[in-house]
């Protein structure tokens, strides 16, 4: 496991209108590692992860203070191209959200908007990404079928593949298994563990067992504050903060 620092979050405060959604958050995220965010609903963990690819830019009346450094560069600097940033930092959402297009068109979208139109390259990259997402064998004969005909678990793996095809370096998972059955969840979890050798991964999850199974580091959020951040094993077996202990032992949340 490398210990190369990838993302440094410095004194981040985030407001939705008057609501203080993130309070003074500091966090270091390392390369080739899965970092999990846990905490009860509304604790700010999704808000936090959506800062990293500036998805919160789309939210009206939101204000941000502080810095998020990706490889030493603040992603909120005015000279940062948000399109470039989002290609580097991919995202998989809570609910599978394939486009109402064919499987192949879903895969090509990210490449086509980059200006790649060569069919051979598109097909090659699609095949590679689908193989990485462990979906290739299930869909290779039906690439021109609508993506909406796939099962929920397959759709989510398609969304992961669609994210991989544009070759990001960091991948954000926002509760990727929230709407999936246990078998699909297992597949996605295996996939995330498998992907960490090539990517820096952040996962928001409601499921503490999931955090324990897949992550190396865990962050516990409560009411917008980062209560505790450390090695997953420590967070679950020997938490320093009483509130963390209460949460991971199931006393609330």
């Amino acid at each position: 496991m490398s210990d190369e620092l990838r993302i440094k979050v410095e004194n981040v405060n985030f407001f939705y209108g008057l609501k203080h959604a993130l309070i003074n958050v500091n966090m270091d995220i390392y390369k080739n590692m899965v970092t999990a965010m846990i905490g009860p609903s509304g604790c700010g963990k999704s808000t936090f992860i959506r800062l990293i690819n500036r998805m919160n830019d789309l939210v009206l009346h939101a204000t941000l203070k502080g810095k998020v450094l990706l490889d030493g560069k603040n992603i909120f600097d005015p000279d940062v191209d948000v399109v470039e940033l989002r290609r580097k930092v991919g995202m998989v959402f809570q609910k599978p959200n394939p486009f109402p297009k064919s499987i192949f068109e879903n895969m090509c979208y990210g490449l086509q908007i980059k200006g790649i139109t060569d069919k051979r390259i598109l097909y090659e990259k699609t095949e590679n990404a689908l193989k990485k997402a462990a979906l290739w064998d299930e869909v290779k004969d039906r690439l021109n079928e609508s993506a909406l005909r796939l099962s929920g678990g397959q759709q989510q793996r398609l969304c992961i593949a669609r994210c991989l095809v544009v070759e990001p370096e960091v991948i954000l998972f926002d509760e990727p298994c929230a709407s999936l059955d246990p078998i699909s969840t297992r597949k996605i979890e295996d996939l995330i563990v498998d992907l960490k050798k090539d990517y820096t991964i952040l996962v928001v999850t409601h499921n503490m067992q999931q955090a324990a199974r897949i992550s190396s580091k865990t962050a516990f959020f409560l009411l917008g504050e980062l209560i505790e951040f450390g090695n997953t094993e420590e967070i679950f077996t020997n938490p320093k903060d009483k509130r963390t202990e209460d949460y991971v032992t199931g006393r609330f949340g």
Binding site: L60, F99, S102
Partner: protein, 284 residues
């Protein structure tokens, strides 16, 4: 208790069934009435010839062509304008009081009587812009008439595209324009086409808006430019039924015109419905 709820269930279904039957009967009898009377007027020359013998013989060719031009012109004008307006309202404009005011105004505009649009067209396009009584003036007037419907239908279709779909596009590094062009509009297309179908039906059948702006009582030739005045089917029906001295012959031709109008609207709608279903089937 159970028998009671079952009975009221049955009664409910019966009521719905009766309503549908009444609606279908009304529609069917109109179509039957017009078709059975109109078909008697049909012949090859009826579609191609110009009216002859003070409109008691000959055909209605110029009126068919005129109506087609007017409908085409109005859709060419209002479809792009309406869709772009809807895109602006959904995707760009701030969601505030002004937006609601604009939307309310558009909905109200849809309720304005069509003769008012006709007077507006006369004052603005015919007089102020100097387009005279012409296909151009009539198309623009009809275009404004159907614009609110097209904006509303497009707005509903675009706003119905889930935010999560847009987010998926942004997260892959798409710009807002790319997202709208490649994701939002294709997904909204079936709804937009539905709005267009209704608009075409309305534009083809309206008489009042074109009465002062586009149509002429009688024309011996087909239009050669957008600045020509034309005959149009709805107005021709009106003329045949209110003027002239040979009511029997004229009535026959009027029914023929009405039947053609029905067929025209149906044909244009069929094309739009075909396109819509093709788009839908592709992705569901």
């Amino acid at each position: 208790m159970k028998a009671n709820s079952e009975n009221s269930q049955k009664l409910g279904f019966l009521l719905l069934f009766v309503c549908i039957i009444i609606a279908l009967l009304a529609l069917g009898s109109i179509i039957y009435f017009i078709a059975s009377n109109g078909i008697k007027a049909f012949s090859w020359t009826f579609f191609t010839d110009i009216p002859r013998k003070s409109m008691t013989a000959g055909g209605v060719g110029p009126a068919i062509v005129g109506t087609l031009y007017l409908v085409l012109g109005s859709v060419l004008f209002s479809l792009p304008l309406g869709v772009i307006t809807a895109i602006y309202l959904c995707e760009y404009s701030p969601k505030n009081f002004t937006l609601n005011l604009i939307r309310m105004s558009i909905n109200n505009l849809a309720g304005v009587p069509s003769v008012v649009f006709g007077l507006f067209g006369l004052a603005v396009f015919v007089k102020l812009f100097g387009f005279h009584v012409s296909i151009l003036s009539g198309s623009l007037t009809l275009g404004i008439l159907i614009l609110p419907g097209i904006i509303s239908a497009s707005y509903e279709a675009i706003i119905a595209v889930p935010q999560s779909t847009r987010e998926a596009s942004y997260a892959l590094g798409a710009t807002q324009i790319q997202t709208i062009k490649k994701v939002v509009l294709p997904a909204a297309l079936p709804g937009i086409l539905t709005g267009m179908i209704l608009a075409v039906g309305r534009a083809a059948g309206e008489t009042a808006p074109i009465m002062f702006t586009a149509v002429t009582f009688y024309s011996r030739s087909y239009p050669s430019s957008v600045m020509n005045e034309v005959m149009a089917l709805p107005y021709h029906i009106y003329v045949l039924m209110t003027e002239g001295t040979h009511p029997e012959e004229q009535k026959l031709i009027a029914y023929g015109c009405a039947f053609i109008l029905l067929i025209l609207v149906l044909a244009v709608s069929s094309i739009a419905i075909y396109l819509r279903e093709k788009q839908r089937r592709k992705y569901v």
